[in-house]
């Protein structure tokens, strides 16, 4: 591959080398610059496309990842294994267990035998919840008195436990309400009082089925776009330097900004292809609704690409070896971007100081934009602040990288 690059770079450089840019009139500086960028672009495209495995890594790996992980990213809790120890075995207790089963949240597993096995169920995570129905359950309800059931929850997975508790509360309320309702009319007649019922009618906006995948999959697209474009850019320049072909590029009349433009544009093109493919997968396979404007999505993604490519470039200018480039992008970019951008955890729940760190992460703003576009159908009127931040970030990091790159040439 190295030999191939040398062959391509030298003839392209030869004709322009005879005409130094400072002697040419202003118009042809532009023309010359465009010409040089075009030549470099061709070289870069040829180089990228030659490397079949790179094309695979850049286009297909993200798609496969999106397909696999898109199915994985869901916090919807469907079937919680609920172990029931019925110490009453009355009509009421069986009816209660039937209500729990009918709620659709639980997979009911009856347990009998010694009490000691209850904690084994939780330790081995064979059950997420254990409900123990006391022996006086049916008798107390018949007498019109309240009764408590004991519920053991596995708190090791706190998210799971919170949901399990919510569901068990809801199913139990349903059962109680069914017992109380007929009684209320009787009591109201007997005692001459009105008994009120307070309920909440909830309307879940933007995501009426409460499908968590609709929230996570657009985020996953942003994540994959970041990983592929940033890492490959950061390595492209470092590789050129490690292989010693950087000097050849430098001695050509190409200006640093032209080298950068030529290096980055192929990745912009690949990024756009990736977005299009990801969009198709998201709409067709995952059925994520899209409420906003596609034009705005591409516009925002283009601006986001400025930041990821700029970041990759910047990393490549400050590190010396590919190994350092990898470590830097893994620890200082990928992990914080995955965990602090709001991809999984809402930024507003983080401590103040971490929120300040998160405010520096461009992915955070991109996620606000794409989630707004996919779920809320928001437009430019609401989305201009994050767009502006991304634009400033992108141009800032690109200029910084260009400046650093320029200095290293001297």
């Amino acid at each position: 591959m190295t030999a191939n690059r040398q062959r391509r770079a030298s003839p392209a450089a030869a004709p322009t080398a005879r005409r130094p840019p400072e002697e040419a009139p202003p118009v042809s500086i532009w023309a010359g610059s465009l010409h040089r960028i075009a030549v470099l672009l061709r070289k870069e495209f040829v180089q990228v496309l030659r490397d079949r495995s790179l094309v695979g890594v850049l286009v297909f790996a993200p798609l496969v990842q999106l397909l696999i992980m898109g199915f994985a990213v869901t916090t919807d809790i469907k079937e919680i294994v609920l172990a029931v120890r019925d110490n009453d075995r009355s009509f009421h207790s069986r009816e209660y267990v039937r209500t729990l089963a009918a709620s659709g949240y639980f997979k009911i597993v009856p347990v009998t035998g010694p009490e000691i096995t209850d904690d084994r169920l939780l330790v081995s995570a064979a059950a997420g919840l254990v409900v123990v129905i006391p022996p006086e359950f049916g008798a107390r309800l018949l007498a019109g008195r309240p009764v408590a059931v004991q519920a053991l929850a596995d708190g090791a997975d706190s998210n799971f436990a919170v949901n399990g508790i919510n569901y068990l509360n809801r199913a139990t309320r349903l059962y109680s309400e069914r017992l109380v309702r007929p009684l209320i009319e009787v009591l109201e007649r007997q005692r001459g009082v009105h008994l009120p019922t307070l309920t909440v009618h909830s309307r879940a906006w933007y995501n009426p089925d409460l499908t968590s995948r609709n929230f996570f999959v657009p985020g996953l697209m942003g994540m994959l776009l970041l990983v592929t474009t940033m890492i490959v850019t950061s390595m492209a320049l470092v590789k050129e330097r490690e292989e010693g072909t950087m000097e050849q590029l430098i001695v050509t009349p190409l200006r640093p900004i032209e080298i950068i433009a030529g290096k980055l544009l192929p990745f912009v093109a690949i990024g756009i292809v990736e977005i299009t493919l990801a969009l198709i997968v998201m709409r067709v396979v995952f059925q994520v609704p899209f409420a906003g404007s596609y034009a705005l999505l591409y516009f925002a993604s283009g601006i986001f690409l400025l930041t990821t490519l700029g970041l990759g470039l910047f990393i490549s200018t400050i590190v010396h070896t590919q190994q350092q480039a990898m470590m830097a992008s893994a620890f200082f970019v990928m992990m914080p971007f995955i965990l602090l951008s709001g991809f999984i955890f809402p930024v507003e729940n983080m401590p103040w100081i971490i929120q300040q760190v998160a405010a520096l992460i461009p992915l955070k703003y991109y996620l606000i934009i794409i989630r707004g576009l996919f779920l809320k159908g928001t437009g430019l009127a609401e989305l201009w602040p994050p767009l502006l931040v991304l634009l400033i970030w992108g141009t800032g990091i690109l200029s910084l990288a260009a400046l650093k790159f320029h200095k290293r040439l001297d």
């Binding site: 890594v57 990842q65 199915f71 994985a72 916090t75 919807d76 809790i77 084994r120 939780l122 330790v123 019109g144 004991q150 519920a151 053991l152 929850a153 596995d154 090791a156 997975d157 706190s158 799971f160 919170v162 949901n163 509360n169 059962y175 109680s176 017992l179 109380v180 009684l183 109201e188 009082v193 009105h194 008994l195 009120p196 019922t197 307070l198 909440v200 009618h201 909830s202 309307r203 933007y206 009426p208 409460l210 968590s212 929230f215 996953l220 994540m223 890492i231 390595m235 590789k239 190994q323 990898m326 995955i338 965990l339 729940n349 983080m350 401590p351 971490i354 760190v357 779920l375 928001t378």
Partner: protein
């Protein structure tokens, strides 16, 4: 044995000469644990709520008051008109708006069923459904209280046949997500260091073309691979000790289980993770590919397919099948069981066996490939 020791010595010397990488491998995971341990939380608390009270009566205000004063909802906005609801939610000013209809107090007095409306921003479904669950629970409690209050003065025993679950939450009574997340984070950080470090150390040898020298030496593939991975086992053990101590000191994550099983789990995990690193390095020629593949098989999948944040039992069966080869999955599960639940061996052996088997498979493949290359 002497050849193996020679490789070992060479590798240790190389690591010592590169203090930057050594520092990164030991201290970065610790730093990251501190940051992420504080940052990440599933706890749905302090949901920002706007209130639109069309009724403006004492009863409506009393009901609203009963919904706040808990750690779940923060009333941060009072709306005046219905038209303001859309804006407040679209802008993200509040996550939820509660609307009390006109005639709320009157309907309550008559004993009719009275509903308030809750508009919840459910773009984050977890947050949305948890908020709805809390609201329903609070409304049910208010109903129960109101009914009993009206029954009490009228007659003798004011009781209604209702069932209430009394929860006892095991292993993590305050339901802090830090307890759940810190052991998982430890596993992920270890995975990152282990895979990245070894795959790089092997590929570096290849790129500098010193691998040929090693291969033509009388060192056997198994000696070469062991000699190159053992130093990283040592480094990773130091890192592990450091992050576990930090987990205890900063986040109160006490190791309830036995240190013996913890050590066994860690060693088996390192065996498998380093095996994966070696395998990656034997199948790739350039560092670019090595890193892409390392990222592909370690970073993102470790986060998404390991059960760290997204429960595996919720995934479709095909994806569950894919997670079988995700090494950190077993380590996370084992760490959670040991650290939080003090699990005995008979609930841990499936994880141990899986890590051991995966490690063996990775090494066998790596050795075969090294032999071929030679």
């Amino acid at each position: 044995m002497r050849r193996f020791l020679a490789i070992l010595k060479k590798e240790f010397r190389q690591i010592r000469r590169d203090p930057l990488s050594l520092g990164m491998l030991v201290f970065l995971p610790a730093l990251l644990l501190i940051m992420y341990g504080y940052a990440l939380s599933f706890d749905v608390r302090h949901i920002s709520v706007g209130v639109l009270d069309h009724d403006r009566t004492r009863a409506s205000r009393a009901f609203l008051d009963s919904l706040f004063g808990n750690p779940y909802f923060d009333r941060i906005l009072t709306l005046e008109r219905s038209s303001e609801v859309d804006v407040a939610i679209a802008r993200g000013t509040v996550r939820c708006v509660l609307v009390i209809p006109t005639g709320f107090a009157a309907a309550l007095e008559r004993g009719d069923e009275t509903a308030i409306q809750a508009i919840v921003d459910a773009s984050d479904a977890t947050l949305g459904s948890t908020a709805i669950g809390y609201l329903e629970q609070l409304a049910a409690r208010a109903t129960q209280q109101a009914r009993l209050e009206r029954l009490a003065p009228a007659g003798a025993a004011a009781t209604l046949p209702v069932v209430t679950p009394e929860f006892r939450v095991w292993f993590n009574p305050e339901l802090q997500s830090a307890r759940f997340l810190v052991p998982g984070l430890i596993a992920i950080l270890m995975m990152l260091s282990a895979v990245v470090a070894t795959s790089l150390s092997m590929v570096r040898e290849k790129e500098r073309e010193t691998m040929e020298q090693l291969i033509v030496s009388p060192v056997r593939p198994i000696e070469l691979i062991l000699g190159k991975t053992l130093p990283y086992v040592a480094i990773c053990l130091v890192t592990m000790t450091l992050v576990l101590s930090l987990g205890y000191v900063l986040f109160g994550v006490v190791i309830r289980g036995s240190f013996l099983w913890l050590s066994v789990a860690t060693l088996l995990f390192l065996f498998a993770a380093l095996g994966l690193g070696v395998l990656i390095s034997t199948v790739t020629r350039s560092q670019l590919m090595a890193f892409q593949i390392a990222a592909l098989v370690s970073i993102l999948p470790s986060v998404i397919l390991s059960g760290l944040f997204f429960p595996i039992r919720n995934m479709p069966l095909v994806i569950q099948a894919v997670t079988v080869i995700v090494v950190p999955k077993y380590f996370i599960s084992a760490l959670r069981k040991i650290i939080l639940k003090a699990a005995p061996f008979d609930t841990l052996w499936p994880e141990f066996l899986a890590m051991f088997a995966l490690g063996l498979a990775f090494y066998a493949l790596a050795i075969r490939r090294t032999r071929k290359a030679a």
